[in-house]
Chain length 365, copies 4
């Protein structure tokens, strides 16, 4: 967004929707405005329930709302990111309305419903900005015109790089105990980060899954930063597990956060003894930062990964042993498979040089 805003031939419009405007999920839209962006539209699209059925309904409501937003803003190009259900709504609204679509983070492989959404979005998108070489090859194999596939790296790595080189630091690291709830952290001692989201295709198993992880970490005796899950179907199961664990372990050295700024999150990844869970950030940003990661379960299945990741099944012993291994190894060297930190500028330049985009797509075989 920074690169687009600062490009002389581009104009940035922002629509904030789904969990990005809700306090329960950290209200990312407010953070965006604090960074000096203005938001054109805020639309409430989440149907409460965090079940498979509300995930479908939220996508439907998103489609209805985004169609109105697009009709008002009349964008020349709609950017959408990754593989979430709001990505699907964004993509469909733009596609039906004959607005060209640019897609970042396409072509990757993972578990959960995201796997299908990601490739379906590729079949609607007109310009592709994959993060890795592997993803770029896959997009072309999906029948996309290679002239529209531009491997630029993941824009999130740009953020990570900026934060690590000390620019754009909004939050001081020491304030970690002013947010969240639970025990106070000592950041001069080793700590673990837990970030585990629901697996939509394993709906109903989240409570057990998160309790395995929490108990494994508790057994290490190391401090832990626990993050609440995203709003996918099954979120409430994970949350319930965390709440139960917390009530039964009030004196454990665990601190719980609804949402961290990206600055804080990156600094924490940079200093953590180990990141545990199934967040894609461990694999993607973790590769660049060198964070030791214990990746649990199927959510990141088949996602290309660096040497910083050890996989574990949903089992307390297995998770515990993997954490110990990572703890003994320590930090890894940086790896650019998901980008080198300059994706934004590349994207803005490429987009600015496109001529008229033919909205009619045709598969290349």
């Amino acid at each position: 967004m920074v690169a687009i805003r600062e490009h002389p031939r581009l104009e940035l419009n922002i629509i904030a929707t789904a969990s990005s405007i809700l306090d329960r999920y950290g209200n990312v839209a407010d953070l965006i405005e604090k960074d000096g962006f203005s938001i054109n539209d805020r639309t409430y699209t989440l149907v409460e329930g965090e079940t498979p059925i509300t995930m479908a309904k939220s996508t439907g409501l998103g489609l209805i709302e985004l169609a109105s937003s697009f009709a008002r803003i009349e964008p020349d190009l709609v950017f959408t990111v990754g593989d979430r259900f709001e990505t699907m709504a964004t993509t469909l609204a733009a596609a039906y309305m004959n607005i060209p679509i640019a897609h970042t983070m396409g072509g990757e492989v993972s578990g959960t419903i995201d796997e299908s959404i990601r490739h379906a979005v590729t079949k609607f998108a007109h310009i592709h900005f994959p993060a890795s070489e592997d993803a770029a090859r896959r997009i072309i194999r999906l029948g996309e015109d290679e002239r529209n596939v531009h491997r630029v790296g993941c824009p999130r790595i740009d953020l990570v790089r900026n934060i690590l080189v000390g620019q754009k630091i909004r939050d001081s690291f020491v304030e970690m105990n002013e947010e969240g709830v639970g025990s106070n952290l000592r950041l001069d001692k080793p700590f673990i980060v837990l970030s585990q989201h629901p697996v939509t295709t394993e709906y109903g198993k989240g409570e057990e899954q998160i309790l395995n992880s929490l108990n494994a970490i508790k057994r290490t005796g190391i401090q832990c930063v626990v993050l609440w899950p995203n709003s996918d179907a099954g979120s409430e199961d994970i949350s319930r597990g965390i709440r139960k664990f917390r009530e039964m372990n009030v004196s454990a050295p665990f601190r719980y956060y609804k949402n961290l700024t990206i600055e804080k999150y990156v600094r924490i990844m940079d200093n953590a003894a180990c990141l545990v869970g199934n967040s894609s950030s461990g694999i993607r940003e973790g590769a660049f930062i060198g964070t030791p990661v214990v990746n649990i379960g199927s959510r990141q299945d088949s996602r290309e990964r660096g040497e910083n990741v050890i996989d574990s099944i949903y089992d307390t012993d297995s998770i515990y042993n993997s954490i110990v291994k990572q703890f003994n190894h320590g930090k890894y060297a940086t790896n650019s498979i998901y980008g080198d930190g300059y994706a934004g500028e590349r994207i803005a330049n490429i987009v600015s040089q496109y001529g008229t985009i033919d909205v009619q797509k045709t598969i290349c075989y």
Copy 2:
């Protein structure tokens, strides 16, 4: 539907939605009930307007409604057909709700937004029933597991075959003048059929497009059966063109139909001197029947076709000349590229033999 209903190990449920329950579009749901099926749910999902924006909103409303229907019916497998916007809503609702999806008519190539929808649906579907060999190959190239790709032919060809061999005839051909409006037809004389739908990616040009076709047919002096368009964005443009033509040409030997039963439509295709327009039926069913077809514009671009099709641009002269060519050629031999008339039985048998279907998909490369 007949094959599934009659299979001892399968149970059929039907949800009627979008244009299928509206009088304006011929109320197909009522016809289905007349054929002895019972409909489990009727849900109104079309947002009126027939514009790109209402197409998006209708898909959104469809998602909201279908999620409720699926929650109630709890299907083991959801069947969806082809590439319409209700297909996308059906697919997404099932996918989010972890219900396996079977898809017929995937893997083909065409113009309009259908092209993107069709391939996106493939990326969500668990079992594929393409109509042609070419389509089957394309689905596999899209990264689907070939064990789940079953080339069975198009189920619509089954219907065509049944009608042509004289079974299941509900309507007599001679009743054509009891329906529709306009001049009376003489079915013992040559006649043309016009079936032309909006091209969503050329939104706003429909009135001119249909007037070219109507004027070309008028110039031939041959009688014409004119069908109203489907409910895609741009439908109102086509309809306005037809209304204007009709008011200015009240004595032309043209008769206008909102909807024909499939039986009547097939008999008309079987007897027509030529089918004009951009309906996929000319290319698909037309290949099997041997109907001479003049296919206009981009809507069927790249769709595999038999020798019965002559393509024309949106131009009165070009359309006129192509009609004359087809008129001189006469009927073509039957061609099975889109099926031999036994798809339904194959589908029912294959589905009945599937074990548990893993809802988690993974791309095969």
Copy 3:
């Protein structure tokens, strides 16, 4: 709208929705723009079907969309008119969002679901602008604070007055044969106007109801201007009746219009031998113009009326006899029960002088 736009202390915003933006219903929004207004938002809210169930769904979709529009426009006061289902959606969206509501045409009595909607809207509205003294009294009896009840007359009478005194004539009366379909009219000869809408609480009986009226008029042998119905539940029944009548009576001296400009409609009411049907315009505008009216059925039950109205049941003989009576009587003297033609200015002045409006309402007993 003219009076508000021209008032120095007021700023006008317009949201066009429901049937006002659809070609099928005459696209009133386009006419509004031709009159020099700019429209802030166009939102598609009609779920196709024209059944009781789609009426509920359209109100629901309207609520969803209007809430977004209000959030963007942030009006100080929302104006809503009368008793249609979009009126209910407008009212609820504003009420939940703590935006004060002004309501015109409240306090009247009629049949159909409009009767309940109208009084319910009164219970949400903060400022009331009833058309008649009778309506004003009724609003106060409903527990509203009489300081907020301002009898100003019906704003539609302003339009009527302007047209009749020759100002703001956009359309010439002689162009009637350039629009619509059917037989040509001779406007120097007597003619009848038929305007009959569905009665939502008698859903399913519309086709028979309209055929009674059409046949009664046909029997008189007088020419007829037939108007298509509004989009309430049951609209398709009325339309089907009209289509059937037309196909069977192609040579009858009837001409059919989807929508007439208000200018044409007023001139036609001013010159008609008789207005037949159940439109409120016969009773309201008809009182001011002096048009002889035959009002059919329950739709206007209990609505206050002048001497220009004869009531009839749904019966061909009864309707025929009433038309003959009105034909023999001829035009009536003007009557101001629904206004004297200066409502707009009064409304703009009153609104401009309101201080802060307390959104919290309390019933006055």
Copy 4:
């Protein structure tokens, strides 16, 4: 519901919607099923955000969903309760679909948007079951036919009576420390109950409002049962206030509950030294039980009340002083203004004796 289910001439159908099916609000639907009822439909209708705009959208989504449910169930009569936003959605869906409506708890006066919703619902309802004499008179003054106004008492008082006489006790009172979070309660010592909901027409002030109450209670040094707020707009403000207070007062003798069963809630009201907040239960059920109540702010303005209620403004001192007064007074004698505990049987009997209900309403003046 018990009385309807057990009546030989009536059949009960239940649709669970809005917060009743969400864990966050205690999942009342699950409790209903535990009581032996079966639920016909569960529909997710809450759009997340708890803002004025999402309240409007949730009503819209509710209308869309309930219309489908009613189409499927085809009820002869729809029961709706009170004045919540789901009440409005229920009422409109039934009214548009020509289904007669019975309404309990109409005719009362209060603050917040509930005041308008309640009276608007009265204008749609066909049969009225007010709780108090005062409310019955008000419904008749609103123009309803007195033959359809039946003062039966509030059905919630039936539940209260049953619980107090010892029937239908599902939960033991002693289990209070097995639920909720916070300090353990000693139920043999005096305790206060706090139940305070957002005031939609004072949106944005909830955090300050609840903190006044919490601090006043803290000052008394008495134990407190704190209940989370309902899902009206502003709910998140109240919740945030509670969370902040809790984090800063971990050792205070306060225990926090997301939802209590009605049995527990009634027992707590029966034993509480004082109920503080703005819940209607203090005024309604409290009158029957004799609970001392401190009612804060405008939410219950003008609601008829017994001698058990002392009103307070939003001010820590004022609330504190009122609590002390109530603490010194102790329990009050029972009062039947809101019912004597036999409303259910009366309602079932009256409804079972109704003949055909004319869906067309007309105001009685």
